[in-house]
């Protein structure tokens, strides 16, 4: 089976994020593969390995000056990648991004499209379902396990109370939550092989998309500093930490005051 995984390069989450002059996330620093996407890549590789044929390919939208993050997903075992990169797409909202990814994926619809439930930088969590609607496919979201059974995809979907077992006919879009599988480390051989794999870079015009349909329609009015709370008391535990907590609980009336 063929699986397409949506992967995104993001500013390093360990660095302090900032906004540019137009109130957009500053993406000018080094970009890395969103860790949330490594789970999708791993799930895809396992499904393809289990099916015995087909391959995993990657689609991405974003700056393609440095594609090290994409290469790291290729090093895990994906065979090729398509990145749509175009100055027209700066500040794209999630729906615009979905339109672009749908245009790439619809050139050759795979059996399964995988994405993370939400990205680590924008975390709207709506893109994969927008993509499913544009492609005319079912969407099975918040999956903690993914299996394929005779032409159907079966997932465990997280719910407020536990999980549901959900099934749909392929092709379909599935979003996976972090931690569902242990993403493999790229081997030296994988890293070497990734160097020769194709990373196709396309512009909006290459995809035949109408640029006027891609104009961002969300607008940031202002960015304000949120009210912050001051840190309260802090004690180093000297054996009395628990007793001090009890006294605090009495003060805030979670516990009734003791008689003493």
């Amino acid at each position: 089976m063929n699986v397409v995984v949506c992967v995104k390069q993001i500013p390093d989450p360990a660095a302090t994020p900032s906004l540019d002059a137009e109130h957009r996330l500053d993406r000018s620093g080094k970009l890395i593969l969103d860790e949330a996407d490594t789970y999708g890549v791993e799930v895809a590789l396992r499904l393809v390995e289990a099916s015995g044929d087909g391959e995993v390919s990657l689609v991405s939208m974003g700056d393609a000056t440095d594609v090290t993050g994409i290469r790291s997903a290729l090093a895990m075992g994906a065979m090729r990648a398509t990145v749509v990169s175009d100055p027209l797409l700066k500040g794209a909202d999630a729906l615009t991004t979905a339109k672009v990814l749908a245009a790439v994926i619809s050139r050759d619809v795979p059996d399964l499209v995988l994405a993370a439930t939400e990205s680590s930088d924008g975390y709207t969590g709506t893109l994969p379902v927008q993509l499913a609607e544009l492609l005319g496919l079912p969407a099975l979201t918040f999956a903690t396990s993914v299996a394929v059974e005779s032409g159907d995809v079966v997932v465990h979907r997280q719910t407020e109370l536990g999980y549901d077992e959900v099934v749909a006919a392929l092709p379909a879009v599935v979003t996976v939550t972090a931690g569902v599988v242990e993403p493999r480390y790229a081997t030296f051989k994988g890293i070497m092989a990734a160097k020769s794999r194709t990373v196709e870079v396309l512009s909006v015009a290459d995809l035949g998309l109408d640029a006027s349909a891609l104009v961002p329609r969300q607008e940031v009015v202002s960015v304000e500093l949120a009210a912050t709370k001051n840190a309260g008391e802090k004690y180093v535990d000297d054996g009395e930490g628990a007793a001090r907590i009890v006294a605090f609980l009495e003060r805030i009336k979670i516990l009734a005051g003791s008689a003493s």
Binding site: E133, A168, E224, K234, V236, I254
Partner: protein, 318 residues
């Protein structure tokens, strides 16, 4: 005042609608709008419930069967929007809510504003979004898009049942979809005590507990304080506790009277889900852990010592 007509998706939950749905109906009414609630799979009492929070009309799609509701609900809402254009559709930030918003957005060719924690009635409806772990608030709006689609986080508003009337209930025939996914079975994890999102006290554990078995200390403390046990994502991902315990950006939003963070560093994605707590106690062995910055009371210490001692003191009082 610019908004006059708001639609709210009232997500069903065991014969009722979710608390977040009630919060959104209350807020829509507070903004001065005529409020329409849209629901499915609910019981007959829902018209009274949504009416009591301020909806004057209820569109009821009825039982959709064992499917993920998003594609059918989005199709139906899209067809209802052909007859009337509200200022906005407010959608609770739940799993199904997010899916419905995504489908509807693509159907209507309108972007969605997500992770909304506040609404302001300006020239158009504007939404507040916490970013960078809540240190900043972005105020955003949609350009030339009616209706606006907003996905709103739980506990952004209070739910106040001071409307008095029963909403006028109209049955709506659902618009079917060929893109559905079927629910084969549902698995519910047993939990005792109050629900995490409603509990007055929440005691959460993180990676600093050291191992899965130490989570019992968190559960015991929660029980002694009539609270609910919660968790950071680190220990959910590690498989120590089920996802239903997770507090934070991708988990539950809680706003208890007291939140006790045990061995939790205080990552921005965790704090987004609990910083509305009236009081925060943190126990962490690292004096520089970010959680202390938002704590009312901090103990720099080992959870393996402080928690058992605290449990003993509380048991002695009981």
């Amino acid at each position: 005042m610019s908004v006059s007509n708001l639609w709210v998706l009232a997500e069903p939950a065991r014969g009722d609608v979710t608390t977040t749905s009630k919060e959104l109906i209350s807020e829509a009414r507070r903004l001065g709008a005529t409020v329409t609630a849209i629901t499915w799979g609910a019981n007959d009492d829902v018209a009274r419930v949504v009416g009591s929070y301020g909806a004057s009309r209820l569109w009821d799609l009825g039982d959709l069967g064992a499917i993920l509701p998003a594609s059918v609900v989005a199709n139906t809402v899209a067809s209802l929007l052909e007859g009337e254009t509200p200022d906005a559709v407010l959608i609770p930030a739940s799993n199904d809510g997010r899916d419905i918003a995504g489908r509807l957005s693509a159907r209507l060719d309108t972007p969605v504003l997500t992770n909304v924690t506040g609404l302001r009635d300006g020239a158009t409806l504007e939404s507040e979004h916490p970013i960078f772990g809540g240190t900043h608030t972005v105020l955003a709006r949609l350009r030339d898009s009616a209706p606006g689609l907003f996905v709103v986080r739980a506990k952004s508003f209070s739910a106040t049942p001071d409307g008095v009337d029963v909403a006028l209930r109209e049955s709506v025939t659902p618009v079917t979809s060929s893109r559905t996914a079927t629910i084969r079975s549902s698995h519910v994890e047993e939990r005792n005590g109050p629900a995490l999102e409603d509990a007055k006290v929440v005691v959460s554990g993180g990676r600093g507990l050291g191992d899965a078995s130490s989570y019992a200390l968190v559960e015991e403390l929660a029980r002694l304080l009539d609270g609910a046990p919660g968790a950071s994502r680190a220990i959910v991902d590690a498989g120590w506790v089920p996802y239903s315990h997770q507090v934070g950006q991708t988990g539950k939003t809680v706003k208890p009277d007291l939140y006790v963070a045990c061995g939790i560093s205080g990552a921005t994605q965790h704090m987004v889900g609990m910083k509305g707590a009236a009081n925060v106690i943190a126990i962490n062995k690292d004096p520089d852990a970010p959680i202390f910055a938002i704590s009312d009371f901090g103990v720099v210490g080992d959870v393996q010592r402080v928690l058992p001692a605290l449990i003993e003191l509380l048991k002695a009082r009981a």
